[in-house]
Each structure stands twice: as structure tokens, then as C-alpha cells.
Amino acid sequence: MNDNTHPTRSWLDSRLPFLRPFCQHMTRFPMPPVNLLWTLGACLMVAFGLMVVSGLFLSLHYQPDLAQAFDSVEAMERRVPSGWLIRSIHTGGVSLLFAALYLHVGRGLWYGSYKAPRELVWLSGLFLMLLFMTTAFAGYVLPWGQMSYWGATVITHAVEAIPGIGHGLLVYLLGEDTLGGVALHRFFILHFTLGFIIAAVVGLHILCLHGTGSSNPTLDSPHPDRTTRPFAPFYVVKDCLAVCVFLALFAGLIFFLPGLLGKLDNIIPANPLKTPTDITPEWYLAPWFAMLRAVPSRLGGLIAAATSLLVLFILPWLDQSPRHNATYRPLARMGLGLFFIAFIILILAGMNRATPLWVWLSRGAMLVWFLTFLGLLPLAAYRERQASDASTQGDAP
């Protein structure tokens, strides 16, 4: 443990003086007794790292050109040595990344991790989620298969619904009147650049977290546990265990179920004259696709989808209850439970055909979504604050 006497270490310390305080902060960072759900962040870091590395190697072979994009992706699958594996890591990894991402956000909702003083952790995290969604969408366009082309067409045309400037904005963003080579090149550069922007925002997200510390899930329980343990080795080991399980799932998906998440329509080259009979988005974007479909007006759908994310951004101010953990907040527990079910219904609705059943289920799920965040959680917060005011007044005399 005599790091300070090791010559290499002292050589580095005198030239990079911030390194030692930084390492000490990272290793001694006091962790409350958090449960396994707090390891999802580490899994996300690993998944993101794999996406960046596999993406870089794929970009060595990809041609962002209308005539060559599809063939270059096919060449990766068939002719580049081990290319099929790298592409599987990238296309399968995105699903696992989003699964971990949504669980991570869900954990933040359930345990009240968005509340003061962690508003910036929550906001930077939501911003990251939007960046990931944009990156995934841009990336899905790149293979230039039927699903790429028509998915991009449908989503970019949602921009057209903005009154007044819609069409002009669409043409400006696409760089030409229709979705073509200029737009494909832009999607590639956007996808590539966002990877590095995400890396920077991840740094900001962790910086915000380390400023305030992790939230403590036991504080609202009848037996609060205020002991802390240093991050290294206790939580490093715990994170490593979770990452091992996560990587095992990853490997299982890539090697044993490679066709589970791919869509057959996307191994048909893009044909601007023939829309596939069944346009389904990737599951991680399906909830918002279902919202666009569930609202009869085009502009209304766009507003509903945007607002559904906006309410998450203002959540720290909608729910100002002193209690964090939904396990010990009956009303919030019910609301968030319903919200999780609604989210799953929206995923399924977005991936299924727009039959009246799925449209009405999406509408119901949207109602639950907005009622939970705009109604139930503020109501729970109001009642809990009244209760805590009453108890402090009761204690005062």
C-alpha cells in the first residue's frame, strides 16, 4: 500500500498533481448500502464502450454513399474477417444498452434519485437518454435497407407537422427535397459524432453524481442504514459481478439468438418506390412511435411524444416530497407500478400493427403516463409534505 514511495508513482504525482486526489476520490468515494440495481450504471458504461469500439471498427468498412452503403454493410457481414461478429456486437449491443438504460432510469424513478440535491444527475441522465435515442435512430438509417429508409422517412416527416416552418425545416435537415445521399451522409456523421458527445456527457453525469453522492435506498425504511463503504473494493467488485452477468447475456444474444432482434426487411436494399407492408421501429423507440400513432392529429402526436419526455425533465419539481423510495410511498408506488406497465404496453403497441386494440391500449398507457407524473406523484408529494409538516409541528411543543 506504500504507493507514495513508489518512484513511478511519485514521478507521476509531481507532474500530474490532480491524479492522486482524483484516484483517491474515486476509490474512497463513500457508498451508501445500495442494492444490485445500482450496478446498471457500470453495465451501461461497458455496453457504451463496446458500442464505441465496435462502431469504430465498423466505420473502417462503411461507405456513407447511396450506391455503396447497403453493399458495404453486406461486405462486413460476409467478407470482412470477423465482421459478422463486430456487427453483431454493435446491433445486438444497442438492445442490451437500451434495456440497461431503461432499467437504470426506472431505478432512478422508483428510488427517487431525481430529487434534490441530485437534479443535475437526473437532468444530465435524461439528456443522455435523448442523445442515445437520437444516435440509435441515426445509426439505424445507415445500412440503407428497406426498414432504414422507411423508418427514417416516417420519422423525418414527423418534423413536417410543425406548423409554418415544418416543410422548410425538413428540407433543410435532409439537405435535399427527399431522403437521399446527402441525408445519408449527414446521418453517418451525426451517428459518429454523437458517440463522442455522449462520452463527454457521461463524464458530466458522473461528475454530477460524485458531487452529491449516490442516493440511499434505506433512508425511508423503518430501519435506515447510514453506514457507508468505500467504492473500492466493495462496489468495484459488485459492479464487476453485474458486468459479468451482463456480458454473459450479451454473448448469449450475439452467439445464440442473432436473429432475435434483426428485421428481415432490413436485408432488402432501400427501395423508395415500395413501402414494406409492416413498418415497425426497434423496440427501444417503439413507445414514442406508438404515441405518434395513437393521437389522431399529426401535430398532436408529435407534441404528445415530446411532452412525455418533457414531464420527466420537470419531475424533480413536480415531486418535492421528502421521501425518496417508492417502496415506502403507497401512492407513488402504485403510480410508478402502473407507469412501468404502461411503458411495456407502449413498447408492445409500437411493435404491433395499429389495430384498434393496440391504439386504444396505447391511449390508455399514455393516460397513465401523464396521470402518474402530472397527477399522482405531485399529489403523493403534497400529502407526504403535509404529513411531515404535521409531524414536525406535533414534535415541536
Binding site: 471498427f57 468498412h61 461486405a75 467478407r79 470482412v80 474477417p81 470477423s82 461478429l85 463486430i86 464487476c240
Partner: protein, 223 residues
């Protein structure tokens, strides 16, 4: 004898095992995990490094097309030459006049060459002759300088009997009309002769040698 016995009992723990600190359970677990993790990282790196290898050709037919190239030399007058591209390499084809063929055997020229007898394997066996080609009236050479890979220009070297010749613009290496490098030049070897044969009197097929079927650009000393 008693002294010896006493000495060994005085230091009962002084054996090999106790000199090394006993590894704790934690040390063993840490080392094991790090080793396993490192092995995992190396395994993960394998497909990424693998993907940097040469991309497989799209089909066997296209490979054949790329390796074999038929060149018509009907349009070449004696003394003229042309440059063709075979497998991405420049290949000079010259048609020689009788004077040029004679010049290739001139002792004044041979005395200045590094490897006048073509002993170093830069050509198929059938081209290891005075004119360093299959037929005396045609010379075919891959014009990639054996020094650092620049492309020499086809030009006569004025100080020598006029056999044709090559001059490399990068570092000034000079070759005679049969692609043989002169002494004291940066280039260490003669210009390679590609595998070839004459399909008919006026057609040269590059990439296929009838007399040395296993000869190729991989079998020479240096490209």
C-alpha cells in the same frame, strides 16, 4: 553432531516455504480475477484485430479476373514500349530492336551491372537468360523500384550501350533495358519479371507462367 542437530532446531521454520510470504485468500482471488479478466479482454480483442486483415474477395471468379490479364502487343513497333496495370502494379512491356538485343550482351554494359547473370530470383527460370525475358524481342518488367517502391520511368541511360532502361525519380536508381540494376545504386535487386506466357504471337498473358506454374510475385526475392 549435537551442534548440527541444535542448529536445525534453532530455526525450525527456516525452509523454503516460510521465506515467501503466504498469499492471502484475497491476493489469490484478486490475481485470479485479473488474470481471467485479462484473458477475456484478449479474447474480445481477437475479432477486432482479425477484421483488419485483408477483406475476402467477393467471389472466386473475380479473383481469377484480377490475377490474369491478356495484353495485345500488336500495336507495338520495334523500340516502342507501353505500361499496363496488372494486379495494381505497373508493368512495362518493351519491344526490342535487334540493336537493343545486342546491347544487352555488350561486355561494357554487363561490367556495370550488379547481377548481370540474373542469379538472384527476381524472374522465372525461363527468363534467366541474356535478354531476361521469354522472347528476346519482348521485355516485360514490373516497374516497382526494389529500393523503396517508387515507379521508375522508362528512359535510355545515356552512359551505356542503348538497351533501353529505367530511372527511378525517388533516389536515382538506374536499370538497363532488361531491368537489371547498375552497381552502386540504392536499389539492391533487379526489377521483377512477372509470371507470363505468350498466348499467340501478339498476345501476352500476365499472371500465368506455363514453364514455371508455381512462380508468382510471392516467390521472388523482393518486390
Amino acid at each position: 553432531m549435537t551442534r548440527n542437530h541444535d542448529a536445525s532446531t534453532a530455526h525450525p521454520s527456516l525452509d523454503e516455504e516460510s521465506l515467501l510470504p503466504r498469499p492471502t485468500r484475497r491476493t489469490v482471488l484478486t490475481a485470479g480475477s485479473v488474470a481471467l479478466g485479462g484473458a477475456g479482454a484478449c479474447t474480445l480483442a481477437a475479432p477486432f484485430l482479425d477484421s483488419l486483415r485483408r477483406t475476402r474477395a467477393s467471389s472466386a471468379a473475380s479473383t481469377q479476373e484480377e490475377t490474369v490479364l491478356d495484353i495485345s502487343v500488336q500495336d507495338l513497333e520495334p523500340g516502342a514500349h507501353k505500361i499496363v496495370v496488372w494486379q495494381g502494379m505497373p508493368v512495362a512491356i518493351q519491344r526490342r530492336t535487334p540493336e537493343m538485343i545486342r546491347a544487352l550482351e555488350d561486355p561494357a554494359l554487363l561490367a556495370q551491372l550488379l547481377d548481370p547473370q540474373s542469379r538472384i530470383r527476381q524472374q522465372p527460370r525461363e527468363a534467366e537468360n541474356a535478354h531476361r525475358s521469354l522472347r528476346p524481342d519482348y521485355g516485360v518488367y514490373v516497374t516497382i523500384c526494389t529500393h523503396l517502391g517508387c515507379v521508375p520511368d522508362y528512359q535510355n541511360i545515356t552512359s551505356l550501350p542503348a538497351s533501353g532502361g529505367f530511372f527511378c525519380p525517388c533516389h536515382g536508381s538506374q536499370f538497363d533495358g532488361a531491368g537489371r540494376v547498375l552497381r552502386n545504386m540504392p536499389a539492391p535487386y533487379n526489377l521483377p519479371v512477372p509470371p507470363l506466357h505468350f498466348v499467340d504471337d501478339h498476345t501476352i498473358r500476365l499472371g500465368e507462367s506455363l514453364l514455371s506454374p508455381h512462380y508468382g510475385m510471392n516467390s521472388i526475392q523482393q518486390l
